[in-house]
């Protein structure tokens, strides 16, 4: 829900800075050139199975270029995190500009189960595609 709020807290600003850094890095860094292209998931290399965060780098890479379908197919979790990072960054900028509202998330048991199920579904999606 959206609630009245004052200026963004220190942590809201810090997380917005991290969001900007991650999205900026995904936009600027050449993921298809060495040495970044040489990194691989060690869990996948050892077991053949994807880890929960597999594909997140590619999801960010596609997301910042507007390739949302490719981002989702790389990692639904990574796409969700990139979307949340962009939304938080934008909303924090609006709050700095004077917007007196902020989203307020109340974690009900139903929401917690939904989040856990979404994580599991994300992993199953990656495992099936692997």
């Amino acid at each position: 829900m959206i609630a009245r709020a004052g200026p963004p807290s220190v942590h809201a600003l810090g997380l917005a800075g991290v969001a900007a850094a991650l999205l900026g890095a995904a936009a600027v860094l050449p993921m298809d050139l060495p040495p970044l292209s040489l990194f691989a998931c060690p869990f996948r290399a050892a077991t053949g199975w994807p880890c929960l965060a597999c594909g997140c780098t590619h999801a960010f890479h596609h997301f910042v270029r507007g390739e949302f379908v490719a981002a989702f197919l790389s990692s639904p979790l990574g796409t969700s995190v990139a979307l949340a990072a962009a939304a938080h960054l934008l909303w924090t900028a609006l709050r700095i500009a004077g917007l007196p509202y902020a989203p307020r998330l109340t974690m009900t048991p139903r929401l917690r189960w939904a989040a856990a199920a979404a994580l599991a579904a994300n992993w199953a999606f990656l495992a099936v595609r692997a």
Partner: protein, 278 residues
């Protein structure tokens, strides 16, 4: 002046913060509006029973203005490493800036020292990497990572690493706190909001002093960091030990799977790369 500050507790998020004035204002932690009464008025917002106990007056680092920078850092390190419960109980949730500064300063200074020490053994490291790369039986992904390690061991990457270390540390600290808090939320273990998780995650970076030790410093620091994060969450959120352990180990179990797998693969490759091995 410390004497001009008064302590108040937000009725919404129940966090305690310091302010230099009474009256209507926003909570610096959750941002909700509240009214801080005049000192001595005895109102519900700041009765003496709700002021934090003596232990919650701040960690030595948060009181470095009175203790001095070096003494504040040294006492915080001592408590974090050997009396963590006392340190986390004293942490104030409205001092996120100071807590971030402690973690970034510690990890940056000792990480840089470790990188300089690493230069001294660079030749041996390179030779080891080359021997591992010369093996035919190591997995291709492992070979790619070794190539990346070799490609990044140039003077340019070294300088870039030193210069970017504070920024990278700040990003890692916030990411670590955000992931830990997300798992705490999913497991229903977030009792006092993100500032409590952040305080636990920042002071638990104290073992990064071990980054100054090349080789074994990093794994020891990571394990110690995990233990401290659990103790910190237990103290700052008021959790039971099982809840704190679950919130901490949730994300790290995932990471650990990856790190353990990497460790096994690297260990086997290093063993085969040792001179004299068949």
């Amino acid at each position: 002046m410390l004497e001009d500050l008064m302590l108040a507790r937000c009725p919404s998020c129940r966090n305690t913060f310091s302010t230099d004035r009474a009256g209507r204002q926003d909570c610096p932690i959750c941002g909700k509006p509240l009214v801080v009464p005049e000192q001595g008025a005895g109102s519900a917002a700041s009765p003496s029973s709700e002021t934090p106990p003596a232990e919650s007056s701040g960690t030595p680092w948060e009181r470095r203005a009175e203790l001095g920078l070096v003494a504040g850092w040294a006492q915080t390190m001592q408590q974090a490493l050997f009396e963590p419960a006392r340190l986390f109980a004293a942490a104030r949730l409205d001092r996120g800036n100071a807590q971030l500064g402690f973690a970034v300063l510690t990890a940056t200074v000792f990480g840089a020292i470790g990188q300089f020490f690493g230069l001294a053994v660079r030749g041996q490291t390179q030779a080891m990497v080359d021997r591992m790369l010369s093996q035919s039986e190591i997995p291709e992904s492992m070979r790619q990572m070794l190539r990346a390690t070799r490609a990044m061991s140039t003077p340019g990457w070294f300088v870039a690493g030193i210069v970017l270390l504070p920024v990278l540390n700040a990003i890692f600290i916030y990411l670590n706190a955000a992931i830990t808090h997300a798992f705490a939320l999913i497991l229903g273990q977030s009792k006092r909001g993100f500032p409590a998780t952040f305080a636990a995650c920042t002071y638990s970076w104290a073992p990064t002093v071990l980054l100054a030790v090349p080789g074994c410093g990093l794994p020891v620091a990571v394990i110690w960091l995990l233990v401290l994060t659990g103790i910190g969450l237990k103290a700052t959120h008021g959790l039971k030990p099982g809840g704190a352990a679950a919130a901490v180990l949730g994300p790290y179990l995932l990471l650990c799977c990856a790190v353990c797998a990497l460790g096994v693969v690297m260990g086997m490759a290093m063993r085969n790369a040792m001179p004299g091995q068949p």
